[in-house]
């Protein structure tokens, strides 16, 4: 299986891209040519186009865009990754409980999910972050995670309901396997591919939501760069300095594409019938 994984071309590309992004984010202090918050020349160095000194130009406060992009990767990727992890964990547990529990448990959980989905997510996020004064990045992660698990739980529940009807689950029960073992060994591997694909796409979505929140002023607070607030800042100068929004936008696009490549490869790798 492991060697098969690596033979998959899309998997290799996706993994290399994700690895490269992670290395760039981790090594930001070594790679960034400038301090991301430094404003060396607020009068003459504003909105400079890309040059040898500033490969991706400068922003309104004469800060180096490349440096901000690298530091922003740390913030955006860790927020998106951790929030997705929270959403995945909660969503999977709720989905398993609803799918495997009694009809009563299922009904209660799914009505709660319905109610949650009926509530506009942005509004909920704004409400929580506005009430939570001085919200830290950790709080942002928790809030983003706790508002993102609803579709995952739906997906997991639907998969569980279909898998639990299969004969091999009945066979496993007939052979004396305990319910939690059946869930862990027979149900989870079968529901994993759709969960992982939705998670990979979810990371991209959370980066975008974080961008929206930063744009509205309740996301990552200003001196700290994130791809979200960089795009938000750049929006005002789309015609005068397009590189401001284009650089973090391209980085975001690349992240989402490479994650979905990995997700697609995972889907193939986890299904032994799809031979490469």
């Amino acid at each position: 299986m492991r060697s098969g994984w690596w033979q998959h071309r899309a998997a290799r590309r996706g993994l290399l891209l994700v690895a490269a992004l992670t290395v760039l984010a981790l090594a930001a202090p070594l790679l960034a040519p400038y301090d991301p918050a430094a404003q060396p020349d607020v009068v003459g160095g504003q909105l400079l186009p890309p040059s040898w000194e500033h490969p991706l130009g400068t922003d309104l406060f004469s800060r180096d865009v490349l440096s901000r992009l690298l530091y922003g990767a740390r913030v955006s990727l860790s927020i998106a990754g951790l929030a997705t992890l929270v959403a995945l964990t909660v969503g999977t547990l709720v989905g398993l409980a609803a799918g495997f529990g009694s009809p009563g448990v299922d009904a209660v959980l799914m009505r709660l999910v319905d109610a949650g989905l009926a509530f506009p997510r942005m509004f909920l996020l704004l409400l929580v972050l506005a009430l939570w004064e001085g919200a830290s990045t950790a709080a942002l992660i928790v809030v983003l995670g706790l508002t993102s698990w609803l579709p995952t739980s739906r997906l997991v529940r639907a998969e569980v309901l279909s898998v639990r009807q299969r004969d091999y689950v009945l066979a496993a029960r007939a052979l004396g396997l305990e319910p939690w073992r059946i869930v862990a060994r027979h149900v989870l591997p079968n529901v994993a591919p759709p969960i992982l694909v939705s998670a990979a796409l979810g990371v991209g979505q959370i980066v975008l939501i974080e961008a929206g929140l930063s744009f509205l002023g309740v996301g990552v607070p200003p001196p700290t760069p994130s791809w979200g607030n960089m795009i938000a800042d750049g929006q005002h100068y789309l015609t005068r300095a397009p590189w401001l929004a284009a650089a973090p936008g391209a980085a975001l696009g690349l992240t989402v594409v490479s994650l979905s490549l990995v997700a697609e490869a995972m889907q193939d790798a986890l299904d032994p019938r799809a031979t490469t």
Binding site: D167, A174, L175, G176, L177, E178, P272
Partner: protein, 329 residues
């Protein structure tokens, strides 16, 4: 003779559905001795699978076992047993082989890991020990190159090999009784014979008992010691294989035998039993077979027959046993 390994007494199971109550099993009694092969024969809808599921406590939600029912397995009472009892019984006392190996094996796990997993559920041992036990089991059920097969996925095996793998999974807990529900229904005729031979071998080598559930009387003749014929949720005849094939007493059994013989002799017209099996929510009154029976008379329409003794260890649920003079008529 000591106590039988499995004794089912007066087992009644009903399903409460939206269109009334379906009595899937009605007063079924059977016994399986140690190292004995008992065959349970009947058409689809006669209650065979319900019986198998009841033996393992796997009846689906709306099913109810009547309080008077008794299921005794090696001294353990199983009718309406609790979860702890079932944990002790499933897999290690009673093993089950399901009908269709294509869907009864998990498609995303290798054969070896599925067997090893069941081994580890029932015996405390290290993963490598479980793994070598899995290969041993595959070898025992007649799989060539078990080391290679253990690393393969179900879809990479042929139907016959999959069925052997499924039997190996069922044997992983070293059960004393193996229940096989239509184990050959999804297989080619040549492979069917091999699988039945395997069951006979396994019984001899492992000293286990087998309850073979099938609709095919021809298969039964080769391996079983005793046969129970089921019709409409009831046992209608129980006899040794010899008695059943030479001196069957129930018209339904004779009909089944006639259909089987017609196939063997390649007659152009099959000797089919007229009519269709009744539905579990509306069994006919009195004798449940009388609407399809050529020999039925007034008594059959008014009075439900009980299991009557036709010979030692030979019972039939038919009034003809009580009034043999009518058979010539």
């Amino acid at each position: 003779m000591s106590e039988p390994l499995l004794a089912v007494r007066n087992l009644s199971v009903s399903y409460h559905g939206p269109d009334g109550v379906a009595r899937a099993l009605d007063d079924v009694s059977l016994a399986v001795e140690r190292e004995e092969i008992v065959a349970l024969v009947g058409e689809s809808g006669s209650g065979k699978t319900t019986l198998a599921l009841a033996l393992l406590g796997l009846l689906p939600e709306p099913a109810a076992i009547a309080p008077s029912s008794r299921i005794e397995f090696a001294g353990i009472s199983l009718a309406n047993a609790d979860a702890a009892t079932w944990r002790r019984v499933r897999g290690r006392e009673i093993g089950m082989v399901f009908q269709d190996p294509a869907v009864s094996l998990n498609p995303v796990l290798t054969i070896g890991s599925q067997i090893a997993h069941v081994v580890r559920t029932h015996a405390r041992c290290s993963p490598p020990t479980a793994r070598s036990r899995a290969i041993e089991l595959l070898d025992m059920v007649g799989v060539d190159a078990p080391q290679i097969r253990a690393r393969q996925y179900p879809h990479q095996l042929s139907g016959g090999l999959r069925q052997r793998a499924l039997i190996a999974v069922a044997l992983a807990g070293s059960p004393k009784l193996l229940v096989a529900d239509e184990p050959t229904a999804a297989l080619d005729v040549t492979v069917q014979a091999q699988i039945l031979q395997l069951f006979a071998d396994l019984r001899r080598r492992l000293g286990m008992a087998l309850l073979l559930i099938t609709h095919d009387l021809g298969l039964v003749a080769e391996v079983a010691h005793r046969v129970l014929v089921m019709y409409a949720g009831q046992v209608v005849e129980s006899a040794s294989v010899e008695q059943l094939f030479t001196r069957s007493r129930h018209p339904y059994t004779r009909g089944l035998l006639g259909a089987a013989r017609a196939l063997e002799e390649r007659r152009h017209r099959l000797a089919a039993i007229p009519g269709a099996p009744p539905r579990a929510s509306a069994w006919p009154d009195a004798c449940r077979f009388h609407p399809r029976c050529a020999l039925a008379w007034e008594r059959c329409r008014t009075e439900a027959p009980i299991l009557l003794s036709a010979a030692p260890a030979h019972h039939a649920r038919c009034w003809l046993v009580a009034e043999p003079a009518r058979e010539g008529a």
